[in-house]
Symmetry: D2
Subunit: 293 residues, 4 copies
């Protein structure tokens, strides 16, 4: 085959919304201020927005901040700053790039924090040895001007399960493709992803995260669940109750199905004891819970 | 520790934007109409939107479509429908759920298509044996009413690399955190993710996908690249040129860094021959390329 | 199709060592004997060995146990058995298949156990709500006759890190490709995989696992580490000390490098505070620690 | 810290089989000898064996090769060597470490090769632009003395599927846990992992790999398969036939189940058209095919 067709004339095109930066910058900061060391580990993404038209359309890189510089800056500012939460560090980074990059007007910083606990020795946490934990903490800081910031915080990989006190009934039954029987007793499991926004800039992000993390688990336990949707709502309401700083919260909750395995074929009862943990497909619920004024 | 604090009164909360459905439904359809079988494999997500307030706030499931029913429906409609592209199948699914679900007013369907080629035997593709290929095809169909649809199509995991004809120069150099030297000769590699929108409903989605897939690769080869951003723009412009049906296209292109390994320490030259393929961090560029009128 | 080359005559071939069975059978068992439910979740693989020659060479499936039957059996026997540890369940499974499969003479069962803790509410673990934990427990039971068993137990994904009390010195320095400077102060991190064997059949496998899990963490903290190899040995020795049932233990310990980021270029000190967590490559140490008689 | 229990005296322990080195060293080598560039990309692991007792038991690192040096060496020798196959490069590496490391007596090198094809432009492969392919090539070279070598080569992630010409019948049916019905028409899919050994040191490893890769696919198509086990055997026999250099070959072949979705419940026929692609559990077959003399 040879390229026989003439190449068409190029259409006029323009650059739309765009950003660039560095992703998956893996940072660990150790605080050695006392014998009791502290550590924080983040995967950071910084994306800059601004006037990058010439670079895209003309190949003119004038005044562009290299992504390698973004990396250096994340490590450099972590030394001088990052004294409080990852969210505050995000604000420091965005303010810096707007100030430093001639063409940068805003951007966003996203992080995943990997959580560590002290190794337990003799009933206490060790001074300088740590062991990795689930779940993960996440966050996103965005700015249009490097001076004001929109912050979202979150949780990932919080996998919870209850062996009773949940069901699924009274849904649409007389429908061609509906075969699932109703139940008021089942095993319910979900892998909670949550993200929330704030109604103030005066936030102790670390403290709020701890409260949300605790509340989601407690609400999961405290009611009979007629649906994952209702549990989602109750979790959201409870978080809004204990965290006045939070304006609204979003959940993504897959319904990790645990199927009662059919043992009757073998002459065995299965009174919700033996389950096949089905990896997929899964029901998936997403929703915001907001303050009602 | 005992729970000494009184539980605060629950705040008033309301449900915000939300959806639910089934995700990761793995469907294979075989067309046995002739000896030369055809196969298509999709991972499908269907999410419904509508009036689901009572389910969330009251735990009232009346008239809700079960996610198990969503699964059954995907397989059932695949038998009767899914005669053309996955995008058209998405329209069929959304139209169905709006018609069938008393509370459903719209939703979206997302898919990943896994691509297969015929096993080559004696220079030809086999009638009924297939071998899995990279990359993957993606798409999303959304509807507010089950009658009109917004379609986005895409590509994932298209990993391309060039060993010459790229550089990175003339960027912001006199800056505290900038240490990267300029170069007009380097190895450039990226893992292209693309998504595009259409300006018409009369689209042969399969044909367009093939043209985009081919064009992205060709444009990658046909110029000296002063930056991944410029290549992103040229790819977009070329796709708009060969696909009049496409209104705009978005790319997410990580810069998979291949670092020239320092061999001088061992008395060896490294004339861009020996690279460390660094998995992370990576530069990350995102942008839309649109028609300029 | 034009297969022009003549196909060569097939050589004589014979079947060598082989096995078959079912893998990734995801089982959850709930014990509802009291209000305080208990759960165990396993991914199970059962592989059978025996006289399977005819199936392979002739396509004669006579007397073969279907892998679907293996799956059914795992769930079925979990109901009647699996009263103690996963290792004991493995023995039950292998004994069953040797008895049931006319051609089965032995086999192995491998498992990964996903660990759950009770959700903490008011300072106590909840009766029926659980939250997933790292790390994972593993094991393998093998038998040649369905009556005697070789058991190996293990740990995966135990990620530990210390911020001081480790170094790397006095190694081979005058060598062409050696550029790493010595250090007696660094950050050390590893992702411990361990497997151990027993010198007796009378084992409380659950109890031993708990002791090993605790001891590995404690030994990690209790010494200055001149190398990951030495720490590996000390961990092994300590486990053998607290677990007389264990005959020997194997570790696979990657050295997850935390590189001191070069901040001097920016006029900043970096006193082991700011690290790049490098995902790869990593040093990798493997070794057995055994009783010396 | 209140460690109240007395620590037991440490048992005598000794070091058993062990090795150490560097893993996941990501190497790309570009051959720029002509305008038509060539590339090879490997992930390399080198593990050294030898007299490492003092390091483990005493913390004495004298004469140890640092794993950082192993990394440097892989890149350094790739420049001077690695002119032929990855297997030959493995021999070069092991010979080097036995010569250089005062305590090294042997070891092994493992690699995964990521495969690239030239980007097709105008019907031909481009000179310096490449696109990543499935599957992956693997290999392992082992040596006890740095002079003679045992080589194993392999394939990973070769995913093949046939829509007809396979079945599963005549197996053990009258058994308590057996519920699967027989079939002589089904969809069969497997993700082939293969590894093979050689009966000579005079091997063109690149050429052999290509022949095996082609033959496995062709044999998959050329017969009615009464079981994956029989197909495994026929693949092995065919490879031994076309590759006299190979002494024996091992396969690991999961049976990726494609379940006929039950559409009768909805009044629809399903004549092997609509399948649920079940990710797990899967049947798993492993076996060696050897020359029968």
């Amino acid at each position: 085959m040879t390229q026989t067709q003439p190449t068409p004339a190029k259409v006029n095109a323009r650059l739309g919304e765009n950003n660039y930066g560095k992703a998956e910058v893996k940072l660990m900061k150790v605080n050695r201020g006392s014998e009791r060391h502290e550590i924080r580990e983040l995967a950071v993404r910084v994306a800059m927005t601004g006037d990058f038209g010439a670079a895209h359309t003309q190949g003119d890189n004038t005044d562009l901040v290299a992504t390698d510089t973004v990396r250096n800056t994340i490590y450099g500012l972590a030394k001088e700053g990052f004294a409080a939460s990852p969210e505050e560090f995000g604000k420091e980074l965005l303010a810096h790039f707007v100030k430093t990059g001639p063409r940068v007007t805003g951007g966003f910083m996203e992080f995943t924090e990997y959580l560590w606990e002290r190794v337990p020795v003799g009933g206490e946490g060790h001074n300088h040895s740590f062991v990795r934990q689930m779940p993960r903490r996440t966050g996103r800081v965005e700015s249009q001007d490097g001076q004001s910031f929109q912050v979202t915080s979150g949780i990932e990989e919080l996998y919870v399960l209850k062996t009773t006190e949940s069901g699924w009934e009274n849904y649409l039954l007389n429908e061609r493709f509906t075969t699932l029987p109703e139940t008021h007793e089942r095993l319910m499991a979900t892998f909670v992803t949550a993200r929330w926004e704030y109604n103030t800039d005066e936030v102790d992000y670390d403290a709020v995260w701890g409260r949300v993390y605790k509340q989601i688990q407690e609400t999961f336990t405290d009611h009979y669940s007629p649906s994952l949707q209702h549990t989602l709502f109750l979790m959201g309401q409870a978080v809004l109750t204990v965290c006045p700083e939070i304006s609204r919260i979003w959940f993504r909750m897959p319904n990790k199905h645990h199927l009662v395995y059919n043992l009757e074929r073998f002459g065995l009862e299965n009174n919700l004891e033996i389950f096949h943990v089905d990896p997929e497909p899964y029901g998936l619920m997403e929703g915001w819970v907001e303050r009602a004024e």
